[in-house]
């Protein structure tokens, strides 16, 4: 029981990432009708926002400390981040350590701009084109974005730690009345889950309670009719794309401490996110979120030693197996609507 609980918790953070990416994919697909293979790249760019901000904040001047020497006997060179100069060593250091949460603020305008530019510059011209063309062009874009990131940041993963305050773990089991030291869970993963829940809640609230959201939901239900209403749907589409880009980006920013960002992390998530979207049901936002968490948790449970003992290799295939079973028993995924993307 406690082992299962631990695996459920372990599945939450991956599930959160799936859910956030799938949410954006569904939004874009539902409103714009575009199959966006570059969505994983947006997640990756988000993660690199955290990397970039950490680098900026660590920007330092070199001070030569005559009183100490390095191992060659030369005077020690000490790098002093400018933040230390401006805010004093204590505050400056805290700011540097908190670079990942701060990157949330940094990434929103960046992702907004990236999303805006992408939609205006490229995606817009593909609304009416066949899905094959959309796949090819967004796949091409994803490769280009990856390669650009690789050029500037190299091919190796870049460690991007969480603030020290959250770097530890805590004993969830003890809190819930299990034996102590059985269910240990890192703080940051819990934060990631809470953060994802907040973002998902915000997106749903936005769609539910604003006029804009109403139009978007109407557009997802029936795109042609909304076009006929004479609402300036183009502008809203751009905004919608930018919002989806921000959601993917934020998912990436906060994921950086869990998995050190590298240039191809987006592709790794992309395929699974597509599975998540489809299992949830094309065009269903709630389905995307539900399927994201469900598959994340199942993946984690299937990797338990006890499970693998009975079903060797199950941890590798569980997501796909479940996807097949769900698609065969529920033709349109968990919460899908009829007639979306079936031709």
């Amino acid at each position: 029981m406690d082992a299962i609980l631990l695996q459920i918790l372990n599945g939450l953070d991956k599930g959160s990432a799936y859910a956030l990416i799938a949410l954006g994919l569904t939004l874009i697909f539902g409103t714009l009708g575009v199959v966006n293979f570059a969505h994983g790249a947006l997640f990756m760019i988000g993660a690199f926002c955290a990397v970039v901000l950490a680098r900026i904040m660590n920007y330092s001047r070199v001070v030569i400390d005559e009183t100490r020497t390095d191992f060659l006997g030369n005077p020690m060179k000490i790098e002093v981040p400018y933040l230390h100069d401006w805010f004093g060593p204590a505050t400056g250091q805290t700011m540097i350590e908190w670079s990942v949460p701060l990157a949330i603020l940094f990434s929103i305008p960046v992702m907004w701009f990236v999303g805006y530019a992408m939609e205006r510059g490229l995606i817009r011209h593909f609304y009416k084109r066949p899905h094959a063309d959309q796949i090819l062009v967004t796949f091409g874009l994803a490769i280009v974005l990856q390669e650009i990131v690789k050029h500037f940041f190299g091919a190796n993963p870049i460690q991007t730690p969480a603030p020290p305050a959250f770097s530890g773990s805590f004993d969830v089991g003890a809190m819930l009345g299990f034996d102590p030291n059985v269910i240990i869970y890192p703080y940051w993963r819990l934060i990631y889950f809470a953060f994802a829940a907040v973002i998902i809640g915000a997106v749903f609230a936005f769609l539910q309670f604003t006029t804009f959201g109403m139009v978007v939901r109407a557009g997802m239900a029936d795109r042609e009719t909304v076009g006929l209403l004479g609402i300036d749907i183009d502008k809203r589409f751009t905004t919608m794309f930018a919002i989806a880009a921000c959601v993917a980006g934020l998912a990436g920013v906060m994921y950086a401490p869990i998995n050190a960002p590298n240039y191809h992390m987006g592709m790794d998530f992309l395929v699974l996110s597509f599975v998540v979207v489809v299992v949830g049901g094309m065009g269903s936002l709630a389905g995307a979120v539900l399927a994201g968490f469900m598959l994340g948790i199942l993946e984690s449970i299937a990797s338990m030693a006890q499970v693998i003992e009975y079903l060797p290799g199950i941890n590798q295939i569980v997501i796909y197996l479940v996807a097949i079973i769900i698609l065969l028993t529920r033709p349109r995924g968990l919460l899908g609507r009829k007639g979306v993307m079936e031709e």
Binding site: M267, M282, E342
Partner: protein
């Protein structure tokens, strides 16, 4: 000729010349010249051109005709490869039984996957095929290690039984594939005024197989069966109310394209006698999708061109490193040369993916319908502006139905 109409016959002859003379025109630059780097006429790459051409031709029979987008075709390629290598290990290093078995096994497996996946359509179908392929990959990688060799894959070993070979006296090299004694890896070289042309047995075997595969695909495209498949793509609902049971048609197309993939997999093994699970990974399935779209979905020759372009870039561009660029631009003034080298280095060597991505985008933006679609449209536009409407009308009276897939 061959039961084809004039333009199809010409196309077939063109492709035949292209493949037979490939060793010449893929090596347009003299050996040792600074541009020799761009020569693609070496056996390994030429084999890949035709083998992935077969893969894409088969994929196009499914995707181009019926519109069903499979995202798991690499699984059939991989399974064909495993079947072929086992045939070599157990029976004989002759490639014929290996290739035959790879087609059969891939056909049976695609019948199973297709029967289940075709219960759904659209993106649901795509994800089902993806799921099957990813499961095959994961299982080949882990649990099925006794059959697949796991991460390291399989290769023929001297200790393999090779029943048939031992029965016949164990002639030939035990770890090299052959065709009735003719070694696949064998090459002849021809020197001519500094040019070097390589003729490789394996390449010619694969090229002949590709020509047959291409010819069969033309027959399918032009047949009543192909017409039904195209009807499925444009309006499956109407077809059902027209008295056609669409399910077995799509399944037949799926199995045929699965067998093409298996054939390609078997040929890959016939050339390099090795296989690993990465051959089934989703990126390999994605690659054939991109080859087909890049060349032109639903056109006859498009997939072959798409496969060739992608494989050429993968093998040639990726080899151009900074050192090589520096020697090319050594004639330029220092700074200018440095700038050019730095810029070009972004697109070559390890950065060749960037060029690939840009080409994908440029083709989709400027050549809708892929390379072939774009060329045909461009040609038509020129034709129209030059000769005006009159020609068009007479033309439409002579030529076969305008909806016939473009060459």
């Amino acid at each position: 000729m061959f039961g084809l109409n004039r333009s199809d016959t010409l196309l077939l002859i063109f492709v035949a010349l292209l493949t037979m003379l490939a060793p010449f025109f893929l090596n347009p630059f003299p050996e040792g010249s600074s541009l020799a780097q761009f020569n693609g006429g070496y056996p390994d790459l030429m084999q890949r051109f035709v083998i992935f051409g077969i893969f894409a031709i088969g994929f196009n029979i499914l995707f181009g005709l019926t519109g069903y987008l499979s995202f798991g075709h690499a699984a059939f390629l991989g399974i064909g490869s495993y079947a072929a290598i086992w045939m070599m290990k157990l029976l004989t290093m002759n490639v014929i039984p290996a290739i035959i078995l790879s087609v059969i096994v891939a056909g049976v497996f695609s019948l199973f996957v297709g029967y289940i996946s075709l219960r759904r359509s659209g993106i649901y179908f795509s994800i089902l095929t993806l799921a099957f392929a990813q499961m095959s990959y994961a299982l080949a990688y882990s649990v099925l290690t006794p059959i697949t060799g796991g991460e390291t894959g399989l290769q023929p070993k001297l200790s393999d039984p090779r029943i048939l070979d031992t029965m016949l006296g164990g002639g030939g090299d035990a770890t090299r594939a052959n065709l009735f004694g003719l070694e696949m890896g064998k090459s002849w070289q021809m020197d001519w005024n500094g040019w070097v042309f390589t003729f490789n047995t394996g390449y010619y075997v694969a090229a002949v197989v590709m020509l047959i595969a291409f010819y069969l695909s033309i027959r399918i495209f032009r047949s009543p069966f192909g017409l039904m498949l195209r009807a499925i793509k444009t309006n499956q609902n109407r077809l059902n109310y027209t008295g056609v049971n669409t399910k077995p048609y799509t399944l037949a197309a799926f199995v045929i394209s699965g067998m093409y993939a298996g054939l390609a997999g078997g040929l890959l093994v016939a050339m390099d006698t090795q296989v690993g699970p990465e051959r089934m990974f989703w990126t390999a399935s994605g690659e054939v999708v991109l080859m087909t779209i890049l060349g032109g979905v639903g056109t006859l020759i498009g997939p072959v061109l798409g496969a060739g372009l992608i494989k050429y870039m993968e093998n040639i561009l990726s080899k151009i490193n900074e050192g090589l660029l520096e020697t090319w631009f050594a004639f330029m003034p220092d700074t200018a040369g440095d700038v050019v080298v730095t810029v070009l280095a972004l697109f070559t060597g390890k950065g060749w993916h960037l060029t690939l991505g840009l080409i994908f985008m440029l083709v989709v933006v400027f050549l809708p319908g892929g390379l072939v679609g774009g060329l045909v449209q461009g040609g038509r536009r020129m034709f129209r502006s030059r000769d005006g409407k009159a020609t068009r009308e007479t033309k439409s009276n002579q030529t076969p139905p305008t909806s016939t897939p473009a060459e």
